[in-house]
Symmetry: C3
Subunit: 153 residues, 3 copies
């Protein structure tokens, strides 16, 4: 089966859209798609609300400064135009980012949260959406070595 491996390093709205459109497109064509969420990309997997977990002050502060979930993500350029861009996309019937992520998971796209990034950013499993797998770089290399498409987004 054709495999595709996407590293979702960025947490930016536009790059997340690109990643999810590719993931859904590939899954719709029957490919086995894995998306590795790492570093800023991890923020795309966060639940929108604050989750009560024990954290160090530093981890709590850092966590509060980063966007909780894709709805809070901003454009990588022209940040101030993010709201406008989202409205435009809606008007032009582009699927919303959260919907694209839900659909990807429903189509069998594997979402992997990078455990090392979770540790560094002080983000815990309870703070992330359901249906994830947790793994590190070795799992990525193993999958990517067998993939036709490998992207770093």
């Amino acid at each position: 089966m054709t495999k595709n491996a996407i590293i979702m390093f960025s947490g930016d709205f536009d790059k997340a859209m690109a990643g999810m459109i590719i993931a859904n497109g590939a899954a719709a064509m029957g490919n086995e798609v894995t998306v590795f969420f790492t570093f800023w990309g991890l923020n795309l997997l966060r639940k929108p609300g604050k989750v009560k977990v024990k954290k160090t002050t530093m981890d709590a502060m850092f966590g509060s400064m980063m966007p909780r979930g894709p709805e809070k993500a901003k454009l990588s350029k022209m940040t101030w135009a993010t709201g406008q861009m989202k409205k435009t996309m809606k008007r032009k019937h582009v699927q919303e980012i959260t919907e694209l992520m839900t659909q990807a998971q429903a189509m069998g796209v594997k979402f992997i949260a990078c455990t090392m990034s979770m540790d560094v950013m002080g983000i815990q499993k309870e703070e992330l959406i359901d249906g994830l797998e947790f793994a590190g770089v070795a799992t990525y290399i193993g999958t990517a070595d067998e993939s036709t498409i490998t992207l770093f987004i």
Copy 2:
């Protein structure tokens, strides 16, 4: 035949240079290269002058805020040094970005404009340079699945 598939997501000058140098280099070695211009990368395909087309006010405004063609593109970092960088490149006999793009097309590199991005950004075919193909994510996946090199730039 060896295929390469590049997603040109960024419209930044430095990243466009990187993408085009890779595309030309691969084409020179006999590879079949496809570059998919999407999101900000779409701006690299715009004609330098304003083209008269019917647009909604929003699309017109958005279009006027984004660079028309690669000559207007700026560095992704140290934006203010863009002009200096271009002069330095010229002095050191690096091919200019527009020349690299023309040469790529002349060497048979396929330029594909992402139709969904065109819709979102309100950019119409008349506003883009000649010699393009127009397609969506399925075309990208189909090509990239058969490619040795797949990059997201």
Copy 3:
């Protein structure tokens, strides 16, 4: 032997970390890894101190404005939090970037400095760390065409 080809275009701290963690991870699994340092990524190969070489005023100015080595690299987002992030990583026992680079080279990861970028940025061999190879886009294409993983970071 399984080959992987990483283009290290960015000189940002977070992206350099990602690139080096992937390179080390792949090398540890027995892959033959090549990292091509180009454009801003070239700064990651610079020695930390100022090296006396003959330069034009412009090259000297440009060189002095860019970070000398990975220790000077900053986060691509939330730049101001770079120091804090480095401290957090240390506290959580993540290997430091310089250590990751040294380890990569020790494990046989090939570091290639892009000669065209060196020319454009006015950076000379004497200013870069030891153990590098020097090559251009053709070498990259040749390697990447035979690689399972190809990333543009």
